[in-house]
Symmetry: C2
Subunit: 376 residues, 2 copies
């Protein structure tokens, strides 16, 4: 139940055993074109796709170094580790970064975003972290942002590393220029492959203004793909096989069913865990579907709690990140997550709390969770 | 018989099936510290090691962006695709790059290098591609370079992506400040993990002058490793498991035995293939142990030759790179390579040539190869 890397279905793991091939062969072209086409379907886009052999952060960095130049004005909401990190990358790139800061666990409102657009007509881009892994918040108005970016003629960039595949994110419908995901989160692949989509106008800009870098250079990726359907550098082949298999499973399940399953499990976890006495860290209307951050009860020690949960019940959850270390723990609700994961997790957390001397009401929590799981 | 990605032993492939763990857990610390310690043994160094989740090019780029600043003077021998690419990265970084250019297939002599050091006392670093994958050349005087770099007080950087693990490269003995390898070459792991070693003085410089980048930032890697033996970003876990298993196999075999095996197979391939009528592309004294580049015979068509070899005999070799496309083909001699790979390859190439109407003498080639394989 980690907030990534997540459990990987056996079928996806086994795909890694496919024999190593020449990445300059027809066999590779078959593999990579299927990866690209199926990623387009999952992103709900016709845009170009590049699958980087890197973590999500690598692909997010690619979105910065290929699109932003010194002096470019960029707006970004900041309220956690990953939005801070992205903001830092924008500053390193020399951007004039307008940070819309809100307390962790709480998102900027759409009106605040809209006002920032009004005050910055000369905007180059709007960057946003869709789902803040460190605090368990999720932005709910991404469908409305392109009204603002089109008004200001700005690029629209979404870091959906820890959400895409687990909730609605139709890239073309919402006019997102650059969108980033990562295999090891809601896509249920092993870590190491991170896809990024690039709209025609962003692509044109990147080709005309390539950055002076090699590995994350998107213009180079476009060139190789157009010439031969190859990648510029040796890709992490076993992970590409696994990622392809994960995409196949997503499309077999169907996006709508997958999003519904994530939502039902998430609702069940929030309700169930709340009813055994835990409180979610994030503000109610900003709560993430895939990452449930919970405040520790008074006196509850992070390491002891998580170790007991892991050793007695084989349920893994993550601690807090940065400033929130020891203050919250985080439960992933992504990828393979299903009915029995939810029930087992609520039960194990409740039992662990009881073993540590806290009064909880497991029956009540499980009953409410089951109610929510009826949506499945 | 590709010049990478190379065959991966079954035992290494199977290691990828190990279950996905939290990269912020004690289990990960156990995995990663073993990876670091065993990499040190293979690099023959006490220096810090970072294992990037990227291709070799990514780790090579890290060696540039962490060490080189605008205006730094750098010497680099250039005679093929990978040395050109490295030189390009140095220029992008703003370095004053002194290229020692020689024709492809031929290395600069040690005297030419020495002269360049004499003429550039204010040198920041010497970069060299140990083994040029595109042309099958290998530099044979790396043991003597630190006499020059210590005289000029310059950093010594070796890109040994396609050789390390297949031939002698004692990083500490040869005083190499930064050394880069890649899993999918002579280390016989799947592609996607690329280790880099950094000497104490290079590390000090990098920590005091961190580059404004995220994914390949070495100072950030040092910080995470020192604080918790973690990596800053989610690593490609299945590939780390495989890479660890590959390191274990290398150390079980022993470095000396491994280098001897590579050398004997390489000698056998050069002698055997020469005697069936093919000529190596590289100058004799500069020939690589791990990559054997051969000139195509008059009228021999690249695609037909390689397709026949692949379809009739299941022997995969690579075509030429860049300007050498259609002019040479390349046989990898690395990783798992052993007696029967050599014999089968010579036999299959000879038969393919015969099927395409060329006169070859397979018996003679195989006899000479067997002679050379007696060294095993």
């Amino acid at each position: 139940m980690l907030p990534g890397p997540t459990n990987v279905p056996e079928r996806v793991m086994r795909a890694m055993m496919t024999h190593i091939i020449n990445h300059r062969s027809d066999d590779f072209v078959e593999l990579y074109t299927e990866v690209i086409e199926k990623t387009q379907q999952v992103f709900q886009t016709q845009n170009d796709i590049v699958a980087f052999s890197s973590s999500g952060t690598g692909a997010v960095e690619a979105s910065v170094i290929n699109l932003i130049k010194k002096g470019d004005k960029v707006i970004i909401p900041v309220n956690g580790e990953f939005s801070s990190r992205l903001s830092q990358m924008l500053e390193w790139q020399g951007a004039n970064v307008i940070k819309l800061e809100t307390p962790p666990g709480q998102n900027a409102t759409f009106d605040q975003i809209s006002e920032a657009f009004d005050n910055n007509k000369d905007l180059k881009a709007f960057y946003v972290v869709h789902n803040e892994t460190s605090t368990g918040t999720m932005v709910n108005y991404l469908d409305k942002i392109s009204d603002l970016t089109s008004r200001n003629n700005a690029y629209y960039v979404v870091d959906s590393v820890s959400l895409l595949g687990g909730a609605e994110l139709p890239v073309d419908k919402w006019n997102i220029d650059v969108c980033i995901a990562a295999g090891q989160k809601a896509l249920a692949a092993p870590p190491g492959i991170s896809p990024i989509s690039i709209s025609p106008r962003a692509k044109k800009y990147m080709i005309e203004n390539p950055p002076p870098t090699m590995y994350f250079n998107l213009a180079r990726q476009f060139k190789y793909y157009e010439e031969s359907k190859h990648t510029p550098f040796t890709p992490a082949l076993p992970l590409l096989y696994a990622y392809r298999e994960a995409l196949r499973m997503i499309l077999e399940e169907g996006l709508e069913a997958r999003f519904k399953r994530h939502k039902a499990c998430s609702d069940a976890l929030y309700s169930g865990l709340s009813s055994i006495g835990l409180t979610p860290f994030a503000k109610e209307e900003d709560r993430s579907i895939t990452i449930i951050a919970l405040n520790y009860l008074e006196g509850l020690e992070d390491k002891t709690f998580r170790n007991t949960l892991a050793q007695k019940f084989r349920v893994l959850v993550a601690g807090g990140f940065g400033n929130l270390k020891g203050k919250v723990f985080r439960v992933g609700c992504m990828g393979e997550v299903n009915r029995y994961h939810v029930m087992r997790t609520i039960s194990a957390i409740s039992s662990t709390l009881a073993m540590m001397g806290y009064k909880t009401n497991a029956q009540e929590g499980l009953k409410i969770a089951e109610e929510k799981l009826k949506a499945l």
